[in-house]
């Protein structure tokens, strides 16, 4: 088993390395460079050339890549070109906000989604299943900006219960905390729960149709136990993968929610960086998202391996 895990780990590291190559190549292809961006369109060619030498932009691309990567590995993420602050510090300000939002959303959406998927699978074809099916389908179909806007309309504008914008710095009590996070979390949950619940249902039904579940039934095993003790352990692999895929979205993909609620997260940091041609920041953010994604997928793989005795005992 350790061989299997080591294999996964090394292939993740390899992927991360390949991604760093791609990120660096793509950001280098963007029109205009950092020197141009800093000095603006009225700079003379001499000024530009001088700044490029100063920043090392005249060096060959491979050398710059090596410089960037070695700095990255040692924790030096470079300087942000647009406001002269270290990239690490910029990300440090934003990352905890993003992680907190992701954590709260995960804590709510995963149990709800698994329960919904479980109930739907157990009551397959029944009214509960059909109702859940309609609910999850419409949740998938409605774009999140619409959910967020409608939520703002109802809870902030009409009812006035919640603030329309999430000023994290104003949190003083638990009540504030709840009020500020309610709408972003609600919006994110809508999207995630639907995906995860549908995958859970599909994975469970696959197992519930198998011969060993019929055998359990013919042994007199009650329905709840059939699902939890017999079907679920064999469905952990696909469910964990579905959860990992959904959660990976919580770091980089929440730009719409961050924008609507003016939430200071890492996704909006990256979007700003792209529009400012702040390449060092873009690269760092992209690497972060990719790293988080790989960790989640690897965790899902680990779950699948641990739940399968064939793989576990190897």
């Amino acid at each position: 088993m350790s061989k299997l895990v080591l294999g996964r780990l090394s292939s993740s590291l390899l992927t991360l390395f390949l991604v760093s190559l791609v990120i660096f190549a793509i950001t280098s292809l963007l029109p205009g460079d950092t020197a141009q961006q800093i000095l603006g369109q009225f700079a003379t060619p001499e000024q530009l050339a001088a700044l490029r030498v100063e920043m090392g932009l005249d060096q060959p691309a491979l050398w710059r890549y090596w410089h960037w990567l070695s700095g990255f590995v040692t924790g030096d993420l470079g300087m942000s070109a647009s406001n002269g602050m270290p990239v690490a510090q910029l990300m440090n300000d934003r990352l905890p906000n993003s992680l907190l939002l992701a954590a709260i959303t995960t804590a709510i959406s995963v149990p709800v989604a698994l329960t919904m998927g479980l109930v739907a699978a157990m009551r397959r074809g029944g009214n509960v299943d059909r109702a859940l099916n309609v609910v999850t389908l419409s949740m998938v179909a409605v774009p999140e900006f619409l959910v967020a806007t409608i939520a703002v309309l109802i809870f902030a504008v009409h009812l006035g219960w919640l603030p329309a914008l999430s000023y994290v710095s104003t949190v003083e009590s638990f009540g504030d905390f709840m009020r500020i996070y309610a709408m972003p979390v609600l919006t994110l949950c809508c999207v995630l729960i639907a995906q995860m619940a549908r995958m859970t249902r599909a994975a469970l039904i696959d197992q519930l149709d198998s011969a060993y579940v019929e055998m359990a039934r013919l042994k007199g095993v009650p329905p709840m136990r059939r699902v939890l003790r017999h079907a679920l352990p064999n469905a952990v692999g696909p469910i964990a993968n579905a959860v990992a895929l959904s959660l990976s979205y919580l770091l980089g993909g929440v730009i719409i929610v961050e924008t609507i609620f003016n939430y200071p997260g890492i996704a909006s940091l990256m979007v700003d960086a792209v529009s400012n041609r702040d390449l060092a920041l873009v690269q760092a953010c992209a690497m972060l998202f990719c790293g988080a994604y790989l960790i989640l997928v690897m965790a899902a793989d680990l779950c699948a391996i641990l739940s399968n005795p064939r793989l576990r005992n190897r």
């Binding site: 060993y212 042994k219 005795p309």
Partner: protein, 550 residues
């Protein structure tokens, strides 16, 4: 708990196909069993035997429903119980042993966990007692390492062992009634005899009433007191086993009996020896990395020598894993041997598909076991048969059409089936199309890989008859791979016995099968159930060394 009486009256079960109308699939079934008696339900696939057996547990598969009748076990009316009472009955007073143990065990839980689960749910005994009981059952069922086998997972034990563990799972609560649903069909004959013996002994000791579902009359003769013959969900004949065997009253029963008896009458007359066709010299096939001597890590076949003249039929028998299918695949070019040579019509055959000439492809055709998987379900029969004609022959439309019709006549199928898709044909018809497709190429050698194994006995016997006839008419040679000795006996001139990848015995069919020299051949032949009561008891139990071999 000892066995209880079982009385079934007017049982009717309906099924609703998706989008179709409900129809009756089991009608008017009734029988009565005294405590400790065993009833066999026998019939071909689709005759409703499993459906009836499951109804004894008050269970109908999805899409089916028990529409009427009564099942009386002791003084319980099984079909009138509420869901909770039904659950209390299942796995306690009535237990079920499924056909495929590999599928019926949860892959992610240990065997012990699953064996004692029923006893714990029904509160019959404590966990400790249940474990002890399970271990003693493992002893009784002659499982290896009975004290520790429960710690393993399903994938860590063999099919025959798993089937016995399932028997332990069923018997742990000392049920009054046990349902055995084709419990040995998926096993090799040499394993089957051991499992049957174990089943019979533990059931007799406990005086369990049982229903034994099977399509194999010879097995049923060993296990059952009464036999109920089914066709299309209706009783054809119901009598004691002895009377069914001695004086079958119904025509269908007689055809079942005829199909189960060795078909000596088919045995072809050996013609004059033809020209050399296939010559295999010291063949070795394996997979995995090869070592310095070119020997693969896992050797499937080794030291295989074989000669086949044109028009000859050679049977290859052996149990699953003996390498017999690999031999056919090596001749077909689907796997490359690691050592040795294959000559076809005095010319070296390339080990890979790429190196073979179109003419060699045409002359060697393969017929696979499962026609379901071998025929493209989206193509009509016409198109399936046209394909090899287009590939190998340059014929115009009219000639092709004439040839397709000729092929249909050869395999004795009516021409109106040409427009059908494989899904609209019966199992036997599909296998005939499968055969016709091979014949379309006018081959000199047909590799038959277990072509009758997936078919019901009566249908399989008809296919066998067809093979004999085709050989007589067309002079085609067969490499006939089978685990069933009686089919080999009735079709082949020569036979080769494979055991663990080696040829242990070969020679003329009569000589090898009537006077076997090798221990394994003797055991293989001695394990084929005979169509008489008391055969199982007359077989000597296998010695310890032989038991560990399997």
């Amino acid at each position: 708990m000892l066995g209880e009486s079982l009385t079934v009256r007017d049982l009717r079960i309906c099924a609703t196909p998706p989008g179709g109308e409900e129809r009756i699939i089991v009608n008017d079934i009734g029988f009565a069993l005294a405590p400790g008696e065993v009833l066999a339900l026998i019939g071909e696939s689709g005759s409703g035997k499993t459906t009836i057996a499951l109804a004894m547990l008050g269970y109908a598969r999805s899409g089916c429903r028990i529409a009427g009748g009564s099942v009386q076990l002791g003084d319980t009316d099984v079909l009138s119980l509420n869901p909770k009472e039904t659950r209390a009955l299942r796995g306690h007073r009535v237990a079920y042993i499924a056909q495929s143990a590999a599928a019926a065990f949860n892959p992610s839980r240990t065997l012990m966990d699953q064996v004692i689960e029923g006893a714990l749910i029904h509160g019959v005994m404590s966990r400790q007692e249940a474990r002890q009981k399970a271990v003693s059952l493992f002893h009784d069922l002659a499982l290896p390492e009975p004290d520790h086998i429960g710690e393993r997972y399903p994938h860590q034990v063999s099919g025959g062992q798993l089937q016995r563990v399932m028997a332990a799972m069923a018997l742990i609560t000392d049920p009054a009634l046990v349902i055995l649903d084709e419990p040995t069909t998926a096993l090799d004959v040499t394993t089957q005899i051991e499992v049957l013996r174990a089943f019979k002994q533990v059931m007799r000791e406990r005086g369990t009433t049982a229903i034994y579902v099977s399509h194999d009359l010879a097995v049923v003769a060993q296990m059952a007191d009464q036999v109920l013959v089914l066709q299309n969900g209706e009783t054809q004949e119901h009598n004691t086993t002895a009377r069914i065997l001695a004086q079958p009253a119904h025509a269908y029963t007689r055809s079942l009996l005829a199909a189960a008896r060795p078909h000596e009458h088919l045995s072809p007359v050996r013609g004059r020896p033809g020209a050399e066709l296939l010559d295999i010299d010291d063949l070795q096939v394996g997979y995995g990395a090869r070592n310095a001597q070119g020997r693969p890590a896992n050797v499937v076949l080794e030291h295989i020598n074989l000669h086949l003249t044109s028009g000859q039929a050679l049977g290859v028998i052996g149990e699953s894993g003996s390498g017999k299918s690999t031999l056919a695949r090596a001749v077909a070019g689907l796997v490359a041997p690691s050592h040795g040579a294959i000559q076809f019509d005095r010319r070296e055959l390339s080990t890979t598909l790429r190196g073979r000439t179109p003419e060699q492809f045409r002359r060697i055709q393969m017929v696979f076991q499962s026609a379901d998987n071998a025929l493209n379900p989206a193509h009509s029969v016409q198109r399936l048969l046209n394909r090899p004609l287009e590939t190998y022959f340059n014929l115009d439309r009219r000639a092709r059409r004439a040839r397709v019709e000729e092929l249909m006549d050869l395999v004795k199928l009516p021409r109106h089936l040409l427009e059908r898709k494989p899904g609209e044909l019966s199992g036997g018809q599909k296998q005939r199309i499968n055969l016709a497709r091979a014949l379309a190429a006018r081959p000199d050698l047909i590799l038959c890989d277990e072509v009758t194994s997936a078919l019901d006995t009566v249908v399989g016997a008809a296919i066998l008859e067809l093979l004999v006839e085709l050989r007589r008419e067309l002079g085609v040679a067969y490499l006939f791979i089978s685990h069933d000795i009686s089919t080999v006996r009735s079709l082949c001139d020569d036979v080769m016995v494979l055991y663990q990848g080696q040829c242990v015995e070969s020679g003329p069919c009569r000589q090898v099968l009537d006077t076997p020299q090798h221990d394994y051949t003797r055991r293989l032949i001695g394990s084929v159930p005979e169509l008489r009561q008391g055969w199982l008891e007359s077989r000597p139990p296998r010695s310890e060394t032989a038991a560990t071999m399997a």
